[in-house]
Symmetry: D3
Subunit: 160 residues, 6 copies
């Protein structure tokens, strides 16, 4: 009865994130999406906003829970007794960073495993920061983020 | 109730393979190890030998089955109604090739997903072909492969 | 009045190749597709077959010519007075190999430049050899290659 | 009659930039160098200085125009009716980032293509930020940047 | 009679750093560890603290000297008449950055060479910044850094 | 008093190989160039020819010895009591393969270290196999290989 732990800043969640979480929910009994409360880079959206965006975009997925944490992922995993982290991978640079984190986490908490799912090719270029940059300059982000996120981004960056 | 599909040539299985299969067996209800019957490179060990080596090295894992297939992985997955492939990753070049295969498989059989687990750092350098090369020249492969594989390799490459 | 030189084995051409040639034809006055007559790996299709496949798939592109060469690309480029090679790129490993070839070509023929176009994300996993492997085992390659190529592959690998 | 669009911060332009623009000017009818007015990192040189440096270093190239833009590159490309972006590539990490940008741009403005040229091997290590760091500590940047840029850097970082 | 020059911020030194310096000391007559006095990112520990940490962790290595420098590494190398830099490599991204620096240094000071040693696989995930992040949140860094560094980190980030 | 061990097939040696050996000879008391007698790919030149080519190209380097070995590098290193392998690196793919070999060697013979030197940028594209391919088709390899190698390649591939 394994539960997948999907951590991230989700500032904001993109369709790439949602796709990975949806697919993880098929292979695991349940999925805990763990929003990093205070990412090292000051987030555009509050923890509450980011959690709500995820909740809205995942209403059709039954076995998913939105949680949040502050501090080390390994502590959150231990508290919740979760043994496997599931992360989406887009590109090589992702892979290196995620591999480093996976190995550090496994070192801090022996037995904590990490599994990777690749993003769909058509979303390989998507990232939260690129989406924010496009939205800031009024570019169209339709089809790249869930509708609720698109609306929130338009609110955050009103067309001049 | 997901079953993980772990395909490979396993010519021979290394401790890196065994480690990935063991760890996958913790997060999935069961694991089907699918040995490629006729890999493109002529194998050193027969399909029966490779299957036996895997069976021997995995006796302590209850929820694992050793199977084999010829042809396309997607056909085997469809026949067995398996939805998720689990592969070990060592390095960047692995990642690129595995990503290419994952995307081709997803294109051939929409809904067939691939998840990746990273090898333990101490086995990041291990590959079946490197193990064979070392054994061929009488180098020590203890600790790199299961005991039964070490014995089989010594039989295949007797010390001069 | 620049002409782009698009070299390759095209054994067989894929939709990824056709896409790159089509797009190159928009930015250059004309495109010379140069089929490598005798690639280092024995081709499945004859030079004539590969040339015909390209011709059929590119009938809608006016400014493209199908040619072939034996030997060094730089000699062909010099004979035809072509100054810029255009290659498609899929992945990192492609990039490294193509970069090596581009630099060797520029060393052999100072002034011969290479430009790269990236494959569309949905074709990033496509390669001639993967397409052949799938066809060999009866997998569906519809949508991955031009119709004429699909037919030729079915002829080369008849369903058992 | 294609025009190449060469965007960048050019803070300052290096010989690597100039080399790519020069070579692009041979294969395209004209080249529009588009200076990013307000890069995300506060530039050392003003937009006017960066534009003048490019103009000075490219006086020998007839078919080049120095322009600037604020906001999204796709909007600038649409306004000017330009269909192909040309970027220099140095290394793998460049490639990944540039690929991500190319795919986002193609998503935002279907039909906007990106082509890559590789830097000459002897300039593969060059970047604007490394040049600034060297100049800041009084290292010699002769031969790495156009003479006008070298002078401007000496002005910006006077020898103590 | 060659002396190896091992530069770095060492903020703080990790077991990966110490391992590379130890191993370099076997193949060179002596090793000069050159601490970057003012790294571009504001360091957590003062130059004196970082130098002391290195000195403490390397008392068992006879032929090593702890020095520091401000400005360009090539100037320090020239002043001390040192001809070869030795750097540890962890991953691909390290490699690219280090290669860029090595080529810039060789350009600034022809004859200044760089040699690379790979980190032990079990320390491939270690970095000073990751160690600091873990310590900041009270995670265990035992076995990742020398004992003196562990103590200093606990001082810098007292458990709440 | 360290001796560097530079192994390779050297079929044939290129200027990139010679450059790395020359530079290694400055930082080590001596260099043993160890020619792999029977590389996995059938060599173009005999062991004697490859050894002679290296000897000719390195007459100006005093502290270098040309040797050869069959079997595992670690056995040769142990027989000769050599503790450090020095290899040239060109590109990322080199790096991954060399890293794998270095870690396997360190596993087979704890204490056997590997150091890497990067090729000069202008030789980053050079490889023995590419040189042979160019020579086979009559391309100019002057400046890419030592004069004696150029002559031998012209003998091996006479202009038609």
């Amino acid at each position: 009865m394994a539960t997948a732990l999907c951590p991230g800043s989700f500032d904001p969640p993109t369709n790439g994130h949602i796709d990975v979480i949806e697919r993880a929910s098929r292979y695991f009994d349940s999925v805990v999406v763990a929003v990093i409360a205070n990412p090292s880079k000051e987030p555009l959206f509050s923890l509450e906003q980011r959690s709500d965006m995820l909740r809205d975009a995942l209403t059709h997925v039954d076995n998913v829970e939105i949680a949040s944490f502050d501090g080390l992922l390994v502590d959150f995993a231990r508290d919740r007794d979760l043994g496997v982290v599931v992360k989406g991978l887009r590109a090589i640079s992702d892979f290196e960073y995620e591999l480093q984190m996976a190995q550090m986490n496994s070192n801090l908490s022996p037995g904590l495993d990490t599994m990777f799912m690749t993003a769909k090719p058509e979303w390989a270029f998507l990232s939260s920061s690129l989406v924010k940059e496009v939205a800031r300059y009024g570019g169209s982000i339709d089809g790249l983020v869930p509708p609720g996120v698109a609306k929130a981004l338009q609110g955050a960056f009103p067309t001049p």
